[in-house]
């Protein structure tokens, strides 16, 4: 439906010295308009000091996620027509992350947790070795494929109640990343990784509520990845190999 000519009543979170509050703007409604289009319109026409973050505008970079009408979403691929409550749109920064200014959050803790979950590939081959051969149909490769397209937007992290309750929880994205590497037959840091993702701050804190899986814009299922990590860490813990030095 072409709603050109209608106006959107947009509330956008603005930082102030005392923390901040919502400021209201009227934005013309356009056909196929995205939430990022609305924020860009406000910044370019109405409020030049509005801070927000975006880069690719096509759902690849993961930098434009915000809370839209109470739900964390990637704004560049979210059409206003799908999420507006009548003519109302409320746009806030992502939850569970410190706000730098307005709609910009500090993602350091989010990505530091990827490092704490051993989210970095550790290989043993050099450029002089032959290519590793990985069967694309193998269960491990399929499990890695299921989670590999994460763009690091932070939507799952902002939607996770466990992150809200206990800020040390590694969160769905970091654990999903770890699970893709647990299933990487080339990786050589498996024992350390399983030890890093187990325990109170790791996969065992997850309550399997599934908000991450429901909200992930890439349709990844971090809940399934975390369940996989629980199985893998339990096996290692019972066998006594969790965190043990390889022989």
């Amino acid at each position: 439906m072409d709603r050109s000519g209608d106006m959107l009543r947009v509330a956008i979170w603005r930082s102030r010295g005392d923390g901040g509050g919502f400021a209201h703007y009227d934005v013309p409604r356009e056909a196929s308009q995205t939430v990022l289009d609305v924020v860009t319109y406000v910044q370019r026409r109405l409020e030049p000091s509005l801070a927000y973050r975006f880069a690719c505008r096509v759902g690849m970079c993961g930098s434009c996620a915000m809370t839209v009408n109470g739900v964390a979403r990637w704004t560049c691929r979210t059409h206003v027509a799908r999420v507006a409550d009548g003519d109302r749109l409320e746009i806030a920064p992502l939850a569970n992350l410190p706000v730098v200014k307005d709609l910009v959050t500090d993602m350091r803790e989010f990505f530091d947790k990827w490092a704490r979950a051993r989210g970095r590939f550790g290989g043993a081959r050099t450029r002089r070795d032959d290519f590793a051969r990985v069967d694309p149909a193998s269960p491990a490769r399929r499990a890695a494929d299921a989670g590999i397209e994460c763009i690091g937007c932070g939507v799952c992290y902002a939607s996770c109640d466990v992150v809200r309750w206990r800020p040390d929880f590694l969160g769905p994205a970091a654990l999903n990343r770890a699970w893709t590497l647990v299933n990487d037959s080339r990786d050589t840091a498996q024992r350390e990784r399983l030890a890093a993702v187990a325990g109170d701050a790791g996969c065992h804190a997850c309550h399997t509520q599934g908000s991450c899986t429901e909200r992930c814009p890439k349709h990844i299922a971090p809940t399934a990845a975390i369940a996989g990590l629980k199985r893998a860490t339990a096996r290692a813990a019972v066998r006594g190999t969790l965190g043990a030095e390889p022989r």
């Binding site: 030890a195 187990a198 325990g199 339990a234 290692a236 813990a237 019972v238 969790l242 965190g243």
Partner: protein, 133 residues
């Protein structure tokens, strides 16, 4: 198991050792709760079917006891059921106590162990009463 966890964690810094010991503890607890849950799923199903059957058949307490006394199959089944409960319930309660009441892991583990022994003892005494009483 605690000794093994401590041995695995030995030789590392205190903080890293504590994190690893917690990881091992959580991994094992999850394993045993999942294993006991698989046993309980079967036991609860058989238990419910048995109850519905017994009630429909109009069995009295005496008639039930007449069937269970001397039945090794009954004793073995409910013995396993009791042991699965004794493993499963304390682990779950310890987790809830840690998360919701902020109970220290050592205290929660001690209380869970005591509860496990209590459940096992009371349950096995009851099973013994049904079979041999």
């Amino acid at each position: 198991m605690k000794r093994a966890a401590a041995a695995t964690a030995a030789g590392r810094s205190d903080a890293a050792g504590r994190v690893l010991a917690d990881a091992i503890r959580q991994g094992r607890r999850w394993y045993w709760q999942r294993m006991s849950a698989m046993v309980l799923a079967l036991c609860v199903l058989v238990h419910l079917v048995t109850i519905v059957y017994a009630v429909r058949a109009g069995l009295s307490a005496e008639a039930v006891l007449a069937r269970t006394r001397g039945s090794l199959a009954f004793g073995a089944f409910y013995g396993v059921f009791v042991l699965a409960c004794a493993v499963h319930v304390p682990i779950g309660l310890a987790r809830i106590a840690e998360e919701w009441l902020g109970t220290a892991p050592r205290v929660a583990d001690a209380a869970a162990s005591a509860l496990a022994w209590l459940l096992a003892a009371l349950g096995l005494v009851a099973v013994y009463g049904m079979v041999a009483g």
